[in-house]
Amino acid sequence: MTFDGTRPWTLHPLVSLRPESFGALAYHFGTRRLSFLKSPTLVAVVESLADLPSGHDACRAAGLTGVELERYERALAALAESGMICERGTS
């Protein structure tokens, strides 16, 4: 799924997150893929997706701006691509 930051997103219902010192492990029970979220900020963004109106809002709520914001949106795009996050209402 292509990431559109203006849309509402959420962690996929078949995905579990496990906190780790570097961030978190994410495991998708459907695709059986494992991803490593390599920063606590990314974990916070991903966890807040479901409660905020859009992907952009989740990034802003984490205080991300400029180059950082772009990096995190690319990370969200990668997570969307692998199905770890999905648009709300589409899973």
Binding site: L14, S16, R18, E20, S21, F22, G23, L25, A26, Y27, F29, G30, T31, R32, R33, L34, S35, F36, L37, K38, S39, L42, E68, R71, Y72, R74, A75, A78, L79, S82, M84
Partner: protein
């Protein structure tokens, strides 16, 4: 499992590079945990890594297994790779599978296929949280049955038929690569494709009964090179459980994290609750504790002396001066140990040939023997197995480094 690095990493390319160091220092819980539920098996594969055959009277009871699952849930272990023995011969196998999935612990189990009836296949097809691996070690009965026993090819194929018929798309066909089946890689891939299955290849280790046949069965240096090229060409289309990270010494790494995860991100819980550093290391030297001890599995994982030691920086020994060390990281600990090589030296199948030299220079001392043997009877090298029993499924998922597994399933 296929892993992707879904996160920003300042400046560095998004590769697992830095994570490898984190992993070598261990995690709060394993990424990949193998759990052998029983040493009982209705097969008697010549290379069985756990020397299975007879049930051990001390095996964990149903209630004890459930308590272990509760603990896995608390530790947020996403899934366990269940093997044996043949795990499905445990009368409470399906009860435990259901219990695990109800408690958010996914199950991947290895089987020789003998208990995959149509109703079982249908049930497996219906669950997102249960994944099955059918073990087969040749694309033909002739090659497979020599290792796994008469009739075992037919049994596995019948199981695959039923799984495919029930719509269990994406189950795994799991193959231990040997000198005799390495020439059948294309045929094995075709076989998997025919059933909508995913091919998974793993490395033969000199573990368990495998120690007795390793010399005769492990791929030759030339075959290893061909295997490497074949795997490289298929990328993530073929799973390996990170089995072949020692081949990274050829140059390009295969998909996977390429490290030995023993006691760091992987471990084994055996049927009696003993916790070993990895499924291929059933030996007292790699025994970290038992889940029946106070503190249970978590205490063993987090605080055992052995695992603490494994998470410290390891000596690179004789490999330290090799320019390829960063690629292969010295190879497989169990392969070294059970061939009598020093743990800080080259892997016996080192692609640069250092392992062969080391093997030649071992001297007279016999390599360590596995600490346990549940074989029904001692059996010499590969040759057709007497009819009495049928072989068992060796490969277990997570074999090894789970991490490495770059797969959609392993």
């Amino acid at each position: 499992m296929t892993y992707a690095v879904g996160a920003p990493d300042s400046g560095a390319p998004a590769g697992p590079g830095r994570l490898v160091e984190r992993f070598e220092q261990g995690l709060d819980a394993p990424i990949c945990l193998t759990w052998e539920l029983t040493y009982a098996c209705n097969l008697a594969c010549v290379h069985c890594l756990s020397s299975s055959g007879r049930r051990d009277p001390r095996e964990l009871s149903t209630d004890e297994c459930k308590a272990v699952i509760d603990e896995f849930e608390r530790m947020q272990i996403f899934y366990v790779n269940i093997g044996g023995g043949e795990p499905t011969v445990r009368p409470d196998f399906w009860e435990l599978v259901s219990y695990a999935t109800e408690h958010h612990v996914g199950v991947k189990f290895s089987t020789n296929g003998s208990r995959i009836t149509r109703p079982v296949a249908e049930r497996l097809a219906a669950s997102d949280y249960v994944d099955v691996q059918v073990s087969l070690d040749g694309a033909t009965a002739a090659v497979n049955d020599t290792v796994r026993g008469p009739g075992s090819f037919e049994t596995a194929v019948r199981a695959m038929d039923r799984l495919a018929g029930a719509g269990a798309a994406g189950f795994k066909l799991s193959v231990v690569v040997t000198r005799h089946n390495v020439g059948q890689l294309d045929e094995l891939k075709e076989l998997a494709d025919r059933y909508g299955a995913q091919l998974r290849l793993t490395r033969l280790r000199p573990s368990g009964r495998g120690a007795e046949v390793w010399e005769e069965l492990h791929p030759t240096a030339e075959q290893q090179r061909l295997l490497y090229g074949w795997l490289l060409a298929r990328g993530e289309d073929v799973l390996t459980g990170d089995s072949f990270f020692h081949l990274a010494g050829y140059g390009e790494s295969l998909p996977g994290l390429n490290l030995c995860g023993a006691g760091r991100v992987v471990c084994l819980v055996d049927p009696v609750g003993d916790v070993y550093a990895c499924p291929f290391a059933i030996h007292d030297q790699f025994l970290a504790g038992n889940v029946r001890q106070p503190g249970g599995f978590a205490a063993v994982w987090r605080h055992s002396e052995l695992f603490t030691e494994l998470r410290r920086p390891q000596s690179t020994g004789a490999c330290g001066s090799c320019g390829h060390y960063d690629s292969c990281r010295g190879g497989c600990m169990a392969a070294k140990f059970f061939t009598g090589l020093p743990l800080d030296g080259p892997d016996p199948e080192c692609v640069l040939g250092h392992g062969e030299l080391a093997l030649a220079g071992r001297g007279e001392t016999a390599p360590p023997r596995p600490s346990l043997d549940h074989s029904r009877r001692r059996r010499p090298v590969p040759r057709p197995v007497p009819v009495a029993m049928m072989p068992r499924p060796p490969d277990r998922p997570c074999d090894e480094s789970p991490l490495a597994t770059s797969d959609q399933g392993a």
